[in-house]
Amino acid sequence: MVVILTDRSVTYRSRDLRAPAWVPDFWMSDLLSQIATERSDAAFRRLFDEFGPRIRDYMRRRGADTATAEELAQETLLTVWRKAALYSSDKGTPASWIFTIARNLRINRLQREVVWQELSSEQADAIPSEDAAPDDTVAARQRQVRVQAVLAELPPDQRDVVTLAFIEGLSQSDIAARLSLPLGTVKSRMRLAYQRVREALEDLK
């Protein structure tokens, strides 16, 4: 099934949301530790090149105009830059940390609502750890790789639902309306998708 996802400016096909390279190298890269240790202009620019357009796109899909979306992308990445030394991988990966910063800014700035979600490095903020144990870093990456592999293999009907939730920011009832599905079907597809993720991570706990 091809789902047409629209916002004011662009028409997307859900097929396009699945980039052919589902496990992009940079997503796994040492960029964040480079940023934390080197503080180089090159690392800073790379951060913006790689994450900037995605975060701007993410904000636009939730209704931000281009200027606002760009501003929020910059703010997300400046937060990453500023806090990179505090990042620790005991809970998440650099990518999940960046995702949660972008998500929380979207809730606060675009939706003007209370942010109830924590950042995925929340503990790291309280306890700055400059040297996360290498084992933790490896394990976190392994988890990210597994999750990406699961999502790449997800049946399209489940992938469409989780993409609409995470990337378009649609509520379950909005997803049901968009896809002309009963609410219960949306919920069960989300459960099934998470079930696969959980199974894939089981032995890494």
Binding site: V10, D16, L17, P24, W27, L47, F48, G52, P53, R54, R56, D57, Y58, E70, A73, Q74, E75, L78, T79, R82, G92, T93, A95, S96, F99, T100, N104, L105, R109, R112, E113, V114, W116, Q117, E118, L119, S120, E122, D125, A126, Q144, V147, Q148, L151, V162, T163, A165, F166, I167, G169, S171, Q172, S173, L183, V186, K187, M190, A193, Y194, V197
Partner: protein
């Protein structure tokens, strides 16, 4: 002695929370539960990985790169999220205590009916739904109600009983909009709970009718006395 948490949000609800697409009142209840439940925090971390993977796989809209500012400024918002989970001396979950600046002992209760008190928490402008504390005396019941949308009940103290279901501190009881139910407090201990719903509760049954009439009467007498004050 406490009973371990045995009732958790539906994974679909947790996932919407992680995606940032759960309505504000429900998100408040999930955050409060997660602050009490390590298992749900771990699941949320996994779901953040899903968000990261999906963000990485999404194609950026046309329009080139995002220009990097010349030099990082240090004027960043504190808007990126809450900090610190626990409020050590209070049974109120830290996210709620922090957001509303209250403790369980300082909730300004309003009596709703014999043995039933409530305190409604404000939501952001334009947000639909409802978030409130209820305090029930032992054996007291909330009015029968159905709802527009899902309803989450988080037990903060005592025991909540909803039909055959007994919920203890930390349990999050989730019902969808098909359900009409009449939750109440345990006969021995009473309860305090946080109830979040996507829409206002639709009161049904005779208790609901009485409450609706009472509410209307109160509002009218309030309007009348305000009018009288103006005249005086």
């Amino acid at each position: 002695m406490s009973t371990p948490i045995s009732q958790h949000p539906d994974p679909a609800t947790l996932m919407s929370f992680a995606a940032g697409s759960l309505s504000e009142p429900l998100a408040a209840a999930v955050a409060a539960h997660a602050s009490m439940c390590a298992g749900c925090r771990t699941e949320l971390d996994d779901m953040d990985l899903m968000g990261a993977a999906l963000l990485g796989a999404s194609t950026a809209a046309p329009g080139g790169g995002v220009p990097a500012p010349a030099r990082p400024r240090d004027t960043l918002s504190s808007a990126i999220g809450p900090h610190n989970r626990r409020s050590p001396n209070d049974k109120l979950p830290a996210p709620i205590a922090r957001q509303y600046g209250i403790t369980l002992d300082t909730i300004p209760w309003k009596r709703l009916a014999p043995g039933v008190w409530q305190h409604r928490l404000p939501l952001s402008p334009g947000v639909k739904g409802d978030l409130r504390f209820y305090k029930l005396a032992p054996g007291a019941k909330l009015p029968d109600h159905g709802h527009a949308g899902a309803e989450l009940t988080l037990v903060l103290d005592g025991i909540v009983v909803d039909g055959p279901n007994r919920c203890h501190v930390g349990d999050l009881h989730e019902v969808d909009d098909q359900v009409e139910h009449e939750p109440g407090a345990d006969n021995e201990v009473g309860c305090i709970c946080l109830v979040a719903s996507e829409g206002p509760p639709r009161l049904t049954g005779w208790r609901g009718l009485v409450l609706r009439l009472l509410h209307r009467w109160r509002r009218r007498s309030h309007t009348e006395s305000a009018a009288a004050n103006k005249l005086g």
